[in-house]
Symmetry: C2
Subunit: 507 residues, 2 copies
């Protein structure tokens, strides 16, 4: 046997396994492995597949060592110095089905399951994952979407709850400030429904629910802690990163994101697999529609709704899909602290709370409450209002915050501010969700909690020349300068001189 | 400006640019770059795009450094310590056309040119390259193949020659031992045609023309040296690696190979772009057809021939496409030294020279010579035989060898040998090109020049029980053991007890 010694190399290539081999390796001929770039690494107990990088630096790997990066080192589960063999990796056999798909074949449920199992076990390299995603992006039957959803659910952990109904609510995203989960969850909890809400951190948006909730409470709860909060307070609002639901989805996303592949089919499989794995029985899906949102036309939204319904029915989740107005950000704040401020203002029934966020939160909460079989048809909305106005929702939120762990110091909006002003008088006509999101990100959101935008005017509002449309908040000068410069180039808001032809909110 | 210091990290990620950033970077927030994994690195003089790896090891990069691997370091063209900025990489705009292609659109010539220009400039990550390849693998119109061929040609260097006719010959591969270029080139040279033959090293086969020629002469010639050899001796047989023809092709191959994508469209564009860039005016293409070759049916071969002809006509290369018998290896030797032995035996008119290699060489040389307008139709074959039998071809080969630089010590076949024997008497019925190629590779070919197989029997030969079918040669015990074990599992040759129904050579 030809044995290399394991060395840990402290670089992070997650989710991909990567290993280093010396070009002058004394045990294997490095040249042999260069062309295919992928090797099978075997210890006495297990094997992983890894991408190979050839090293000429003896400080990284010596000639008798194999250097394993994070996460390859962790997945091998061996100590440094452990004996390892390597061999040319045979591509996972499930890749044959991907190749058939590239040639135009439909994949069977068994084939999709094999692909997803291999992906969840980190056996696919990024380019192999791209091959699967792109062959699927050209066409995917509804049966394939269903099979993909099931396979992704089964590839990870699955939560079980002792409640007859487990509700959840998910927005497909694309609209800044749309933090309704933080209003819906406490209303559901106050009503007595169970809502174990996990969400992601923002990746390309200025704030996710997890980022915003983190302003108020701890969000990185392990599965058991999360279970404790839900059992005690009916709901939680935590980060999904520690819960290991649909791990294949996380791997797929690591390739979809850089490639900006964003097909409806993969979105449906991704969302429904995570919710099914989280143990949801009833799910409300919010699809904002607008010219700068993810879904740009009513027709497209309806097609997406039907796909959600097709898959949802077959995997046994009760679905309610709602199309909402996505023509502009929701609420005033964009960025974690500013959005948390808006959410708490709504829950406190503050007279200054943004009307649109309050209305959107009540709309969704009303629909969600109707999952309760005890509630008469159409009574959800009034019940949601009652729970909000009575302070029951606020009290529920405070209990959830305490159960998760209240944040010690309240964060404040960034104190570097610039007012972006109307260049002429008139009425706000359009607000570009995408553009405003980018400006908020340049300002530092979501990494700097206090960075972001405060939108003082919304579509339909009258403005005078020189009046402030929105305020940029930053914590660092360089971010601030970038954001201001970008807003100067294109502020993302148009103002009509006339007050005719103004878009009105549809919801 | 936020400036990092350049550090060279001696690891090789070619052809991809890769850079390391410390997780605790004091100048940029590493977290900001993790999701998209790709950064734009700018010095005072230039920018490159690179894949980012986050490091936790201060020996690899310090908190104020950016570590650049080969080839990123070389492409930046700066010294260590040079000041660099980084930014989130915007995906190349040409990727929009790839995304449209994924959705089923045909790409325009301009779009394909933009994609190939970006790929040749190393602006695409492997997964982005996979996106292009796979969207193209599902369908590609003949016009797209033509545009791809032109774009790949234009993306690199292009050789110009002062000869009225520049001939070349290319085999699409898949058949071990098929070293006819080393017979055709000296015959062409002896006749007075110019044939600047560049070829690749074997990647997945047991020997390429460059590997086999290297047994006899230097092959890593720079462009000017190669030009000198051709001007003096009419032909050369060199490795294409230093000539920088169609560099986009090399990048595409680095992804096609691990993904085992091997579409006819990409093959045609790859071959014709390299030949056009090499300045060929007349090209003979050899398509071996057989059950274990790359092309498995006559029908498939004809479709491929038509695609070669369509593109060849439009880019202005005179093409002759020939379908040959690919049901078994050609010649006796498989592996560089053994194949070089066979080639030289044919050129020396040695009575022991393998008949099939001689016949195949003459077939192709005869067709190639007919590119000469002075030669009467049908006279090529006789002329080729005349040049071979008179010793003119051998003399031309010796001059080419001397001009390139004769190898000092003659290499010998590996001295670890094992005879693989017939298990019963009968007639050789099939020889599996793919299997025999793999056994030869396990034996050490092409890296150990003397490793490989010596095929003592071919299809149609009678064998007695226990008679040797082929001999395995290795230079190292462990390779030898692997190869012998693989041959024992499946020797790749079948013997029919009856002498009926035996395949006969078609050419």
């Amino acid at each position: 046997m030809r044995m290399l010694k394991l060395k840990k190399v402290s670089v992070d290539t997650a989710p991909e396994n990567t290993v280093f081999l010396s070009r002058n390796c004394s045990i294997y001929r490095a040249e042999e492995f260069i062309a295919l770039k992928k090797v099978k690494v075997s210890s006495a107990r297990m094997s992983i597949l890894a991408t190979l990088i050839i090293s000429d630096d003896p400080n990284i790997v010596a000639d008798d060592e194999l250097g394993a990066c994070e996460p390859a080192f962790r997945r091998l589960g061996e100590v440094e110095g452990a004996k390892l063999e390597i061999a040319q990796a045979r591509p996972p056999t499930s890749l044959d089905a991907v190749r058939a798909k590239i040639s135009g074949a439909e994949m069977t449920e068994t084939e999709i399951e094999a692909v997803i199992t291999d992906i969840a076990a980190f056996r696919y390299s990024p380019m192999e994952i791209a091959a699967f995603l792109i062959s699927s992006a050209s066409f995917m039957t509804t049966d394939e979407v269903l099979a993909l959803t099931r396979a992704m659910t089964n590839a990870g952990a699955r939560l079980k709850w002792d409640f007859p109904i487990v509700v959840d609510k998910h927005c497909i995203g694309g609209v800044p400030g749309n933090r309704t989960s933080m209003i819906v969850a406490p209303i559901a909890a106050a009503h007595g429904l169970h809502m174990p809400k996990t969400s992601s951190r923002a990746i390309t948006s200025p704030a996710g629910t997890a980022d915003t909730m983190k302003v108020l409470a701890r969000v990185d709860l392990a599965t058991d802690e999360m279970r404790g909060v839900v059992e005690k307070e009916n709901a939680c609002l935590v980060w999904g990163g520690h819960v290991n639901l649909s791990p294949a989805d996380d791997v797929l996303i690591s390739v979809e994101r850089p490639l900006r592949i964003d097909t409806k089919e993969q979105m449906v499989a991704s969302i429904l697999s995570k919710k099914l794995a989280a143990g949801s029985t009833h799910l409300l899906i919010d699809i904002p529609v607008g010219p700068s949102a993810k879904v740009r036309s009513q027709e497209e939204a309806v097609r997406l709704r039907k796909l959600f319904e097709f898959v949802g029915d077959r995997i046994g989740i009760v679905l309610d899909v709602i199309l909402t107005d996505g023509r502009q950000p929701v609420g005033r704040g964009v960025g974690p602290v500013l959005e948390a401020r808006d959410v708490m203002a709504v829950l406190r029934n503050d007279p200054d709370a943004p009307d649109d966020l309050r209305a959107r939160g009540l709309l969704l909460a009303g629909r969600l409450l109707e999952f309760d079989p005890q509630l008469r048809g159409g009574a959800g909305r009034a019940r949601a209002e009652e729970l909000l106005e009575s302070g029951a929702a606020l009290a529920a939120m405070e209990r959830i915050i305490d159960a998760q762990g209240r944040a010690s110091t309240p964060a404040c909006p960034g104190d570097l501010t610039a007012d972006v002003k109307a260049r002429h008088a008139g009425v706000v006509n359009t607000m570009d969700c995408h553009r405003l999101g980018r400006i908020a990100r340049l300002a530092g959101a979501p990494m700097d909690k206090g960075a972001g935008l405060d939108l003082l005017k919304k579509i339909g509002d009258e403005v005078g020349k020189g009046e402030t449309l929105y305020r940029i908040h930053s914590c660092f000068q360089s971010d601030f300068d970038f954001a201001v410069k970008m807003a100067e180039e294109n502020l993302g808001v148009t103002v009509n001189a006339s007050s005719k032809n103004i878009g009105r909110s549809a919801s």
